[in-house]
Each structure stands twice: as C-alpha cells, then as structure tokens.
C-alpha cells in the first residue's frame, strides 16, 4: 500500500510536467462548462418561450373579443381561437437535453382536426439537429472517454518505450501495483473533473437536490470506470503506445459511433413505423372529402361516436360549423389507427434500444441521463398523449355550444380548458442502466486483472 501511494504521488508529478495532458484536462473542463452553459440557456430559452404563450392566447382572445363584440357562434371562435399544449421541461433537462431540441416544447391547437396540428414543429436547422446537443451529458458520454484514452493509451508502454520500465520492475513492486496506481491516479483526475462539472451543472441549473443527484453521479462514475476498464485491458495486453492508441480509439469509434448508428438502423428496420406522410394524406383526404360527402352521411358517422348529439337539429343549411367540425373529427378518427401505430412504433423502437443498450455503454449512459432528465422519447409521447387529451377536452368544451346552438359569450373564454404538462423524470428507467454498466465494468476489470497476472515485459 505504501508503494501504491509513492507511485500515485509520482504520477501526479509526471502529469504536472506533461503540458499536453494538463492542457487537455483544461480543455475538457472548458467544454464541460460550455456544455452546461449551452444546456441551461437552451432550457431557459424554452422556458421563456413557454412563458410567453399565455400572453399570446390572451391577445388572441382580445382580438376575438373585438372581432365578435357580442355573443358569437362557438364555431367561429373554435376556428379562429388558438391555444397551446405546453411541455414544461424538468430542471434536469438543462444537463441532458435529450430530444427536447428535436421535439417541440409546445403545440398550437385549434378545434380543427388534431393530427395535422400535433406533429407540427418550428423550423429548425436539420444539420444542427443532426450534430446533436452540446450539453453536459454529451461532454460526459462522448468527450470524457477521449480524455481517458489520451490519459491511458501509454499507461505502461510509455515507460517501456522510454526504457524506464526495467529499472522500475527491478524494484520489489508488482505489476498490479504499478498499473493500479497509474490507473487510480487517472481515475481520480477524471472523476474529479466529471464530478466537478456535474456539481457545477447542478448548481448552475439550480436543480432540486433530490435522489437523482446520486443516480447521475453513479452513472457518471460507472461510465468512466467502464472506459478505465477498457484502458486496463488494453494496458494488460502489453502492446506499444501506438497500437494501444489505435485500439482504444477503435473501441471508442465502435461503441460511441458505430454501434449506436447500426443499432439505429437495425431497430428502424426491426420495428417499422408508419410514414408520417401517409397519415397526413389520409387525414387530408378524409377532411377535404368531407366537403363533398352528403351531410347526413357525415353526421350519422359522427353520431355513432357521439350518440348524445343524435337528436339535435337536422342540418339543412349549406354550411354549419357543427358539420364542419364533425368531418374534422372524422378525419382524426380515420387516422387514429395510424397515429396509434406511429406512437406504438416509436415506443417499440425505444423499448428495443433499451433492451439492447448493453451493446454500447454510450447508449446506456445517454438514455439513462435522458430518462433522468425527463427529456427522452417516452416523456415526449406522454406529452403527445396529454395534448391529445387536451384537444379532447377542447371538443368537450365546444361541442355543447355547437350542437345546442348556444351562444359563446365573452365570459366563456375564461372557462375554456388550459393545458400544462411537465416532464416527469423516469428515475426507474435511469437506474435500470446502472446494473448493466456495473456488470460490464466488473467484466472488464476481471479480464484486465486476469491478463495482468502474466509477467510484464520490461522491454
């Protein structure tokens, strides 16, 4: 143990003089801070956007009150009045934005058919979306392994190549002690950096210090340990620094880039999802066809869904709003199976990736971070379900006006339902990632220590 600490302290002196590595650590710290800044400003921007929505709704109501000074037809109001289904982020999303950049954080809704509104998003630069978020989770999952590789590719081979190893191994110290001390020093350094960034991020984003802090830190530690396990195995393999570097970068490329891409392709093929285009066309055909179909046919189909309005007045006018909304409603009905299949398909893809995430600890860590921050796909699907319910409640609010031909007064605006949805952290999902990581860490360290039992070649 004494020798371990001597070597540990010596590593610190070696590290201090290696300017490149010190610079690299500083660079990682800087990118980490930028990641935290990026995440927190992005979430602050989304929050600001969401906070402005009630004002937009209020202005819209004011305009309608001017447009319809007296009691109005609810059909007009439903047509011109827009409201919002909003998806408030969890505070943790600042550290792991997940899908919050791809998926909209709010949906503008009118009483019209739901499905052509539900999937509408703001325009975004697809190239920027492709490259992903530069948040803290990105720095931890993608960049920290590179730092670990830079620190560890010549863990023992540097001494061998510089010719110091024979003199070192002529001392009464075991290979495990030498490698262990070197690894422990680098582990302390990297965990110190990752822990510092995590705590900084938590303070910066003003996160509630709940049980998720421990889960986040446990994920970070295990993920770093995984990469140190890889370094240990490569070190124990006893090749030259150049071979080690190539091997380690190969493993990084495989686990961080290649496997996730291939998994993405494979999962997309294994769990087909109906094309959004098909859904859009079906709904448009149904709704636009509604103008040409006999009104009684449309209404009878609608009454089959809402028998309570069956005894309302027969439509004789050329146009009446309740008929218009009826075929809008039927448009939604026509694509309901497609919409359900779409949502199920996405969920099935997500589930399959969850089942296969042991293939790549990067996927595991990333999806666990996202689950922890409530910024992953299940949360978005939950928001879409919530928005659908909200649209249902809008219908439930307007239909009595339309079918009873009641007048919509200025006082009724305030009675219109409002929507709010806040991401829920899926701590259980996040914690499911831990045993898988732990297992791979144990396997790597087991293999590494086994390989280290072979004598170390001093030259």
């Amino acid at each position: 143990m004494r020798v371990f600490w001597i070597l540990f302290a010596a590593e610190w002196r070696h590290f201090r003089t290696a300017r490149g590595l010190v610079l690299l650590c500083g660079l990682l710290l800087a990118t980490g801070v930028y990641g935290i800044y990026y995440g927190t400003t992005e979430i602050a921007r989304q929050r600001q956007q969401l906070a402005a929505l009630p004002e937009l709704t209020r202005r819209n109501v004011d305009e309608l009150k001017v447009k319809f000074p007296g009691p109005a037809d609810a059909g007009d109001i439903g047509y011109y009045h827009s409201t919002f289904a909003v998806h408030h982020p969890d505070a943790w999303a600042a550290l792991s934005l997940g899908l919050r950049d791809v998926n909209p954080s709010y949906v503008k809704l009118r009483l019209l058919g739901l499905h052509n509104q539900l999937y509408a998003t703001d325009n975004a630069n697809p190239l920027k979306l492709l490259s992903g978020n530069f948040d803290l989770a990105f720095v931890l999952v993608y960049l920290v392994p590179l730092l670990i590789i830079a620190l560890g590719f010549n863990l023992l081979s540097a001494e061998r190549e510089e010719g110091i190893l024979p003199l070192l191994l002529a001392q009464p110290i075991g290979a495990t002690t030498v490698v262990g001390a070197k690894l422990a020093f680098r582990l302390t350094l990297v965990l110190g950096l990752a822990g510092l960034l995590s705590l900084l991020g938590m303070l910066w984003a003003r996160l509630p210090l709940d049980g998720r802090v421990a889960t986040w830190l446990a994920l970070t530690v295990l993920y770093c340990l995984f990469w140190f396990g890889v370094v240990l195995v490569i070190t124990a393999w006893q090749r030259t620094s150049a071979v080690n570097a190539v091997a380690l970068l190969g493993v990084w490329l495989l686990l961080v880039v290649l496997v996730p891409s291939l998994l993405n392709l494979g999962v997309a093929a294994a769990r087909p999802v109906p094309q959004g285009l098909e859904l859009t066309i079906r709904q448009r055909e149904e709704i636009h066809g509604g103008w040409d179909r006999p009104k009684t046919e449309t209404m009878n189909r609608f009454f089959a869904l809402y028998p309570q309005w069956r005894d309302t007045a027969t439509i004789r006018e050329r146009f009446v709003w309740r008929w218009y909304y009826a075929f809008q409603h039927l448009g939604d009905q026509a694509v309901a199976p497609l919409a359900a299949a779409y949502a199920h398909g996405l969920q099935a893809r997500y589930d399959l990736v969850e089942r296969l995430n042991w293939l790549s600890p990067a996927i595991n860590a990333q999806s666990s971070f996202n689950a922890l921050a409530g910024s992953d796909l299940p949360t978005h699907l939950a928001f879409q379900r919530s928005a659908t319910h909200y649209h249902d409640s809008l219908r439930a609010f307007y239909y009595p006006f339309l079918f009873r031909q009641a007048e919509f007064t200025h006082a009724d605006y305030a009675r219109e339902p409002r929507h709010s949805f806040t991401s829920l952290a899926e701590v259980a999902t996040a914690r499911r990632g831990l045993p898988t990581l732990l297992l791979s860490v144990a396997a790597l360290f087991g293999l590494g220590l086994l390989l280290l039992r072979r004598p170390i070649a001093p030259r």
């Binding site: 010719g163 003199l167 002529a170 001392q171 110290i173 070649a457 001093p458 030259r459």
Partner: protein, 235 residues
C-alpha cells in the same frame, strides 16, 4: 554454503533460437563474476533470468536461496540492477529520480544522504538538481549506480554498467565494486571489457552461443592470457 546467486540447469529456448543452454552457476557472497562473450552469447538473457524478466524454459534461477519464478517480488528486495543504458524519468531531477526509486525499494533518505549517493557515484553535485532530460548517457549511468548502491542489495546484476562512462569514472566504478564485494555483495556483471573483468572480477566466465564454455578464477590468468583464451573460444 548458501550462494547468493545460483542457476540450476537453466535453459531458455525462444521459438527460433536457443538463448541459454543448461547453465549451472553459483556465486557466493563477495564474489564478482564477470560474464564475457559476444553480443547474443546469452549474457543479458542470464541476467534477465535472474531478474525474472524472462521466464526459463526449464531449470531454475535462485537469488539468496529463493527461486526467481516462485518469488518474483521477494527476490527484488535482494538485488539491484544496472542496465546497459540507464533510463530515468526525464522531467525529474537526478535527485528526484534517486528518491523515487529508493522509496520504491523501501528506503527513505534525507536529501543530503541522497546527494551523497549521487556524488559518490561520480555525479557532479551541481547536476543533481537538474532535470535528467539534460543529462548525458554517462551521467544517467551514474544515477543508475547511485540507485543500485542506495538499495543496499546483497546481489548486484550489472549489464555492461560502464558503457558510456569515461575511463576515470569506470575506474571509480571498479573501486566501488571492490568495496561492495568486501562488504559481502555478490556481483554478476556482463561486460565486453576483458581488462576490467580481469582487474575487478574474482572469476570470469566465457559464453558462446548460449553456453558457458569456461570459468576461470582471475588470479590464475593475466589479462593477455585471458584475452587469448577468449579469442580461442570465439574462433
């Protein structure tokens, strides 16, 4: 009689080459055994087998009565090693390198003691505080000597330790070996320097193609005779 170094039918076979053929050798306390031979004759292999850096194909090496293959760590407490080309941490000073290697060997010397070891080995005092990266080969060799001496080992394994040393420093090194031998240290030294072997060694062994072909006490020969003997074996 306990030997500090012993080889029993020690053999090392590489895939393409027999590096050492059935070596039997005993070295007692106070003996300085010099191995002579051409490059590739098996001198370094012998030293590496005693260090445990190379695993024997058959037979066994013993240090202070302990079998190297069985006690790979324990034996290193009893031996010190100076390679042909001493390499040290270039960003540490000579003093810091000596302190580091000594502490790994289990010694904790105060700074003046460390400096004494370095100056005794022939390193100028002003150089001791300089980074080793600025040292010449000979200066590094002297730090290597200091590291070995400061370990107070019973056995010294030397693989052409004086390479890179000027004649004066080589001579001082011979003095040092004699002093250590007087204190009961056993020395196994591989060398090309026949005259120094004769001068400092108690016995010389001549190796050829992995085989120890002759062993003579140095008192029985003068340097010319030893050279003649050596050359006979090489033809």
């Amino acid at each position: 009689m306990t030997y500090l170094l012993e080889a029993r039918s020690l053999r090392k076979q590489y895939a393409d080459k027999l590096a050492l053929r059935e070596l039997n050798l005993q070295i007692a306390p106070g003996e300085i055994f010099c191995l002579l031979g051409q490059n590739g004759a098996g001198k370094s292999t012998t030293i590496n087998l005693f260090l445990g850096f190379v695993q024997p194909t058959s037979g066994a090496a013993f240090v202070n009565g302990l079998e190297v293959a069985v006690h790979p760590l324990e034996i290193k407490k009893h031996l010190a090693y100076i390679p042909e080309n001493v390499m040290l941490y270039p960003h540490l000073t000579g003093l810091e390198n000596l302190a580091l290697f000594s502490s790994l060997a289990g010694f904790k010397y105060p700074a003046p003691a460390l400096l004494d070891y370095l100056t005794d080995a022939g390193l100028p005092a002003e150089a001791a505080g300089r980074r080793v990266g600025t040292y010449s080969k000979g200066m590094r060799q002297k730090v290597g000597i200091a590291i070995a001496v400061a370990k107070h080992a019973k056995v010294l394994l030397l693989d052409e330790p004086t390479s890179g040393l000027d004649p004066k420093a080589s001579n001082e090194f011979s003095e040092l070996l004699r002093r250590l031998s007087g204190q009961g240290t056993a020395v196994l030294m591989a060398t090309h320097d026949i005259f120094r072997a004769k001068e400092v060694g108690t016995r010389v062994g001549i190796m050829r193609e992995g085989e120890l072909v002759d062993v003579r006490p140095t008192t029985a020969l003068n340097a010319r005779e030893l050279e003649q003997l050596y050359l006979t074996y090489m033809h």
